[in-house]
């Protein structure tokens, strides 16, 4: 019988990974939220804006155009979000963009009934998908919403994608916030609206 005496001297030297405190700071920075806590500079501009939150990142989009109820919000790197009554109907220069092609269906039925839309997604790109918005319930006692909260179930059958759309509206009819997910590979986007001109 052969005895295998293995003098394996495996020096897995982690000294090359001496973790100095600067690295810890870097990793902490990479993980922490990129929050915008001070909105006063934006309020001082007297322009309407939305604060968009996705994951750990926040960004401000300024209202740049308004046309027949469709609002176009522009970000620091020229990203654009178009909304109708708080519902995101078109984006550009985000990680995953989407476009709703039949806005008139939204204009006709929002807050009243179920809605059938036709939408395209990007990254990866697919076009003309049937998107169903089914009104699930209207919540009036939500502590996070001073007004009414409309909860829609969103379903794209072709790619078997389920998510929900929440719209918070004040008693005066002003959109306060929305919460929706545009793409199965993306996170929910939370928009908080700060109207300063109507």
């Amino acid at each position: 019988m052969i005895y295998m005496i293995k003098k394996i001297f495996l020096l897995l030297c982690l000294s090359g990974c001496a973790v100095d405190l600067a690295y810890i700071e870097v990793f902490r920075e990479g993980l922490k939220k990129n929050e915008i806590n001070d909105l006063q500079p934006f309020l001082d501009t007297n322009l309407s804006f939305v604060k968009a939150t996705k994951g750990k990142n926040q960004a401000i989009f300024i209202l740049s155009d308004y046309n027949e109820g469709v609002e176009i919000w522009v970000g620091a790197d020229n990203e654009r979000i178009s909304t109708y009554k708080g519902v995101i109907i078109r984006t550009s220069k985000l990680d995953h963009d989407m476009t709703v092609h039949n806005i008139e269906a939204l204009q006709k039925n929002i807050f009243q009934d179920n809605i059938q839309l036709l939408a395209s997604l990007s990254n990866p790109s697919v076009s003309y998908l049937n998107l169903e918005l089914t009104l699930d319930k209207i919540i009036t006692d939500d502590l996070d919403c001073i007004g009414k909260k409309y909860k829609y179930d969103m379903f794209i059958s072709t790619i078997d994608f389920n998510s929900e759309l929440l719209i918070c509206i004040s008693d005066a009819g002003e959109i306060l916030s929305t919460y929706q997910r545009l793409n199965p590979f993306d996170e929910y986007i939370y928009l908080e609206y700060y109207y300063q001109y109507k």
Partner: protein
């Protein structure tokens, strides 16, 4: 035809939604891409790193897998074989189970097309002890978006479903396989593809509507009668498994193998080769609101411009060293510890000067220095720089870059620098030893203080002090059995000697200078590393416009005492090498050849191949052959290893020059051992490369 292409493309894209991550290949229990036990012909993207862990009784296996190219998978496996003792000598290894390590490689022979499968050739456990040695040829073909079929031919431990070896029709030498398990390290070419062959096959199926859950079924090719240290019982040759992709990068796996064993594990793979692989929101260059006001002030006098440059460059962590205004040309010299990319550093500097300099300045020239050595100059017309912000590729024609000899007396503005300038970093450090006969894990947690004192631009002292906090190194017993001078194999004594107190890892004084634009030299003295102090120097010829370098280094070294303070042992020698470097511009592979005399007074060469990706990730491997025999070298036969260097800025919104690295040398022996001194010239002069500047020119507007 166009409609057909579009339909096909859209259909494929819909499948990306229906079968999430189906294009992301999965790992086998063996630790490389594959089914359950069998390999497949799949690869991750180049620049990817992977880690896999599986409990596949009696094996616990951890694997590190790298993809330096789209067609190459290279991996290191570390296996705990818990049905076998490390040795039969209790005094030597106690009850510790057997540990095995191995290297594997797989190359792609044919890329998959609509008609042909992807074909790959692989070798398992080469350069190791041979417990898992096998070779294979495998083909994988995807049908639709959710079915992947693989079929292959194996030799060695992959010949369970045996057939006659087809290669024997070519030569008789493929008939016999020695299957010798030895001390390891050598590559036994004669055994490759020899002996009885065997076939294997399997499928991977992405189940619809289950968030990417995959089912794997295979006809196992593993010969459990010959694999590893002890034969394993196999009740069935068909294995079943499932893979659940928690995310695109992180997979969990569960399988049932041999008809009698449940296995589980996980894997993580990340692609780090692209420019911003983790999609960090990087901090943009600051746009100055009061630029016009600043320009009116700087227009009044040259000194205003110099001082404004000093201030505003400093805000971007760019340290102005010198400046000169000559008519409509403004030149600045700077150093930076922040920007890895020379083009980004230059772009930041030019962008700031453009915002503060009066409009009558037409041309901006920026030059970077490091350790008082001129790295490069970049000169561009201000109007051109602003015109092509949306299309940096056009800028390439107009920006002039050159090598640069830093002459301190040539400038009109010379901001005073207070010397010495001292920089400190501190933090925890873990020294570890894994897998030795004395025990599985030995660690020494230390507190580390790294300092750099600049006595002038060209003279610095770098130091690294450690203080031991807690360790279990006293249980290490293994003595060196090397027949060569113990230049490295007294490692246990050094590990034990530095525990529980202060030790000096490095205390090295450096003097840098350059002769002309392309020739750099350095003189150093002091404590270079854990085991050696001494004095010496190196010289490097590295022309800016070219992709090669030639260097020479010579050191007189003294072996340090085991407590790593200021005493020495009775060994000294002279070591020196001629160094050749070539950076292949298309693939960015760096070929390094080092030839000369090593610490144990053996002579030979070290070959180092590495690839640097767009992100700054560097992965490489090396081996050393000298004039000592494999037997004199001992276990492992010759020195070899691999390493990764990952830029810290990949994981942060900020920019950093720092990298963190990890390397593995399977065995520490005395042959081919080189001095490990700080700040070699090739690294210090890293920005001094036109190819490097131009390759990342799109960073200039970041």
């Amino acid at each position: 035809m166009l409609a057909l292409i579009l339909c096909t493309s859209l259909s494929a894209n819909i499948d990306l939604y229906k079968y999430p991550f189906y294009e992301s290949p999965s790992y086998s229990n063996y630790g490389t891409l594959g089914l359950i036990q069998n390999p497949t012909a799949r690869f991750h993207d180049q620049g990817s790193l992977g880690f896999s862990w599986s409990h596949n009784e009696p094996y616990l296996r951890g694997s590190i897998v790298a993809y330096p190219f789209n067609w190459l998978e290279a991996s290191f496996q570390y296996t705990d074989i818990n049905n076998r003792l490390y040795s039969y000598f209790d005094y030597f290894s106690g009850s510790q189970s057997l540990k095995d390590k191995s290297f594997d490689a797989k190359i792609r022979l044919l890329k998959e097309s609509s008609i042909f499968p992807q074909i790959a050739l692989g070798i398992r456990d080469f350069g190791g002890t041979g417990l898992f040695a096998s070779e294979y040829l495998v083909a994988s073909k995807r049908f639709g978006s959710n079915l992947d079929i693989s079929i292959g031919l194996g030799w060695g431990n992959l010949n369970r479903n045996d057939i006659s070896n087809p290669l024997t029709k070519i030569s008789n030498r493929f008939e016999e396989r020695t299957s010798e398990i030895d001390l390891g390290g050598k590559v036994n070419l004669d055994d490759f593809f020899s002996g009885t062959a065997g076939y294997f096959a399997g499928i991977e199926y992405v189940i619809p509507k289950l968030n990417g859950l995959r089912l794997k079924v295979e006809l196992d090719g593993t010969n459990y009668l010959t694999e590893s240290a002890e034969p394993l019982n196999q009740d069935s040759r068909v294995n079943f498994g499932i893979i659940y992709p928690v995310t695109k990068r992180f997979h969990t796996k569960l399988s049932f193998t041999r008809g009698n064993t449940v296995n589980f594990g996980f894997s993580y793979a990340i692609s780090l080769g692209s420019k911003n692989p983790t999609n960090q929101l990087k901090r943009k260059r600051v746009s100055m609101e009061n630029s016009d006001l600043i320009k009116t002030v700087t227009a009044r006098s040259d000194i205003n411009l110099y001082r404004a440059s000093l201030l505003y460059l400093r805000q971007e962590d760019i340290s102005l060293q010198k400046a000169s205004l000559n008519d409509d040309n403004y030149e600045v010299v700077y150093s930076t510890a922040k920007y890895r990319s020379p083009a980004r550093a230059a772009g930041r500097a030019i962008g700031i000067i453009d915002q503060i300099a009066p409009e009558d300045i037409k041309t901006i020239k920026v030059s970077e220095v490091n350790a008082g050595l001129g790295m490069y100059s970049a000169e561009v017309s201000r109007e051109i720089f602003n015109r092509y912000k949306s299309n940096p590729s056009i800028l390439e024609k107009y920006i002039r870059t050159n090598g640069f000899k830093f002459d301190e007396d040539n400038y009109k503005f010379n901001p005073a620098v207070r010397y010495p300038a001292i920089f400190n970093d501190m933090g925890p450090e873990l020294i570890s030893q894994i897998g030795g006969p004395d025990g599985f894990f030995f660690g020494d947690l230390k507190w580390n203080l790294d300092s750099e004192a600049l006595l002038s631009r060209k003279i610095s002292i770098i130091s690294s002090l450690t203080y031991g906090l807690v360790d279990n190194m006293d249980e290490l017993k293994l003595e060196s059995d090397s027949v060569l001078p113990h230049v490295r194999t007294d490692i246990v004594k050094y590990l034990k000697g530095s525990r529980g107190g202060l030790s000096v890892k490095r205390l090295q004084a450096n003097y840098y200078n350059q002769l002309g634009k392309s020739t750099f030299y350095k003189l150093s003295a002091g404590i270079f590393e854990q085991m050696y102090s001494g004095y010496g120097g190196e010289i490097l010829y590295r022309p800016y416009e070219k992709n090669f370098g030639v260097g020479f280094e010579l050191w007189k070294v003294f072996k340090r005492d085991f407590d790593q303070l200021f005493d020495h042992r009775d060994y000294e020698t002279i070591t020196g090498h001629l160094n050749l470097y070539y950076q292949e511009p298309r693939t960015n592979i760096l070929f390094s050849l080092k030839g000369g005399r090593y610490l144990a007074e053996d002579s030979g060469i070290t070959v180092d191949l590495s690839r640097i990706f767009r992100s700054g990730l560097k992965m490489g491997a090396f081996f050393t052959l000298t004039d000592i025999s494999f037997e004199e070298f001992g276990e492992g036969s010759f020195d070899k290893g691999f390493y990764f260097w990952i830029p810290v800025e990949m994981f942060s919104p900020r920019y950093f020059k720092r990298t963190f690295g990890w390397g593995l040398r399977p065995i520490t022996r005395d042959g081919g051992a080189a001095l490990n001194y700080g700040y070699p010239l090739w690294g210090v002069t890293d920005p001094s490369s036109n190819h490097r500047f131009r390759r990342r020119l799109d960073d200039i507007y970041d």
